[in-house]
Amino acid sequence: MNEARADRVNKGWSATLAVLLIGTGGWIDRARGAPITFNTALPVAKGEFIAREQVVVNQSGDDPSGLDRDRRSQAAVTVLGYGATGRLALFGVLPYFDNELDVVVGGRRVTRSASGFGDLTLFGRYTLVQRDWPGRNFRVAPFAGVKAPTGDDDERDALGPLPPSVQLGSGSWDPLVGVVATYQTLDYQVDTQLSYQANNKANSFEAGDVARLDGSMQYRLWPQTLTTGLPDFLYGVIEANLVHQGKDRINGSTDPNSGGTRLFLTPGIQYVSKRWIVEGTVQIPVLQDLNGTALENDYIARFSIRFNF
């Protein structure tokens, strides 16, 4: 690890501590609709549909390798949820990607790119614990699913096959499991999610497994005081996303320049009405403890709308 990266990692751990302190403060005060950076907490009634359309811009450009890599991914992610019963909800998530990687090859800078639909993720969520009180509720729901290889994983350009970071899909069936908990009041909502995705091999490449711990707090900013009826709500949102990815394997060998741990701090805003929600966030990396010359994230911006049918 070079000195600059080590310094950033140290600063990152300090930021982690700060995030935890902010989180604790949030619990003490009245804290904060549904998370923006993860879909597993979306509320769906029996026999009803919910749809979320999210635009995600993922920029990575801090390259310690000297190849001056710059990666941009723009995605339109469609999420559809259906309430099979009062407790069981089924979800489908399908992204459309526009991926680009600028890199120096043989002394000249080239752009490698791919566009199209990515891998479809299907999962089911079962509400195991449901407690309701006047004006507040608590839910715990495990979920499980699979990422299906619907995106192309054999895209090529004049230079040959595109690297995995530009491909639209992984080519593998990857199972995922997790649990999500929500505590919601009229003033605020807190969600936390723990998940694990086991990535499998395709085309001699196996991406590292991904473990995530996400937290979200949404605090009602407006109206400050509730009166009668069903007013729209404006929430201030703060989320934290801790993501650990194992090292990739290529042709059976571990790639030392892949995987690592990232922590994002994610401020956002959310406007909630009874039929739709508009929301936006920017995920700012505060910790990136990556292996070797793995490419660092600059930011991930998200803007989405949600509809109740």
């Binding site: 509320p43 009634a45 009803e48 449901q130 004006g135 919601q184 909502q189 709500f233 909630v272 009874k274």
Partner: protein, 98 residues
């Protein structure tokens, strides 16, 4: 200007209520945001004979107005609230004129 509108709006509300029939008050636990409240409005609104719904999110209270011929049973109300993902705490019929 707003003050001038209050009387006609209240008059219209009362006329609509008089033209309709029975009213029921549902106390619902777990109701905490407008987006979640839509599911419960839709479930209750699908019951035959419902002409009007009024959700008060702060009180967790839903007023259901039915046609004169129709009536709402506690069992049906409980079932619909449960399907929406919430819990019915209490159910009562509002006496006419109340």
């Amino acid at each position: 200007m707003k003050r001038h509108l209050i009387v006609p709006v209240l008059l219209l509300w009362n006329l609509a209520t008089l033209a309709a029939g029975k009213q029921y008050a549902l106390q619902v636990d777990g109701l905490a945001c407008p987006f979640c409240a839509y599911g419960i409005e839709k479930k209750l609104g699908a019951i035959e004979g419902v002409v009007k719904l009024h959700v008060d999110i702060q009180q967790g209270r839903i007023l259901v107005t039915m046609t004169k011929e129709a009536q709402l049973s506690e069992q049906t109300a409980r079932e619909k609230v449960k399907d929406a993902g919430f819990t019915l705490r209490s159910f009562s019929r509002i006496a006419e004129g109340e």
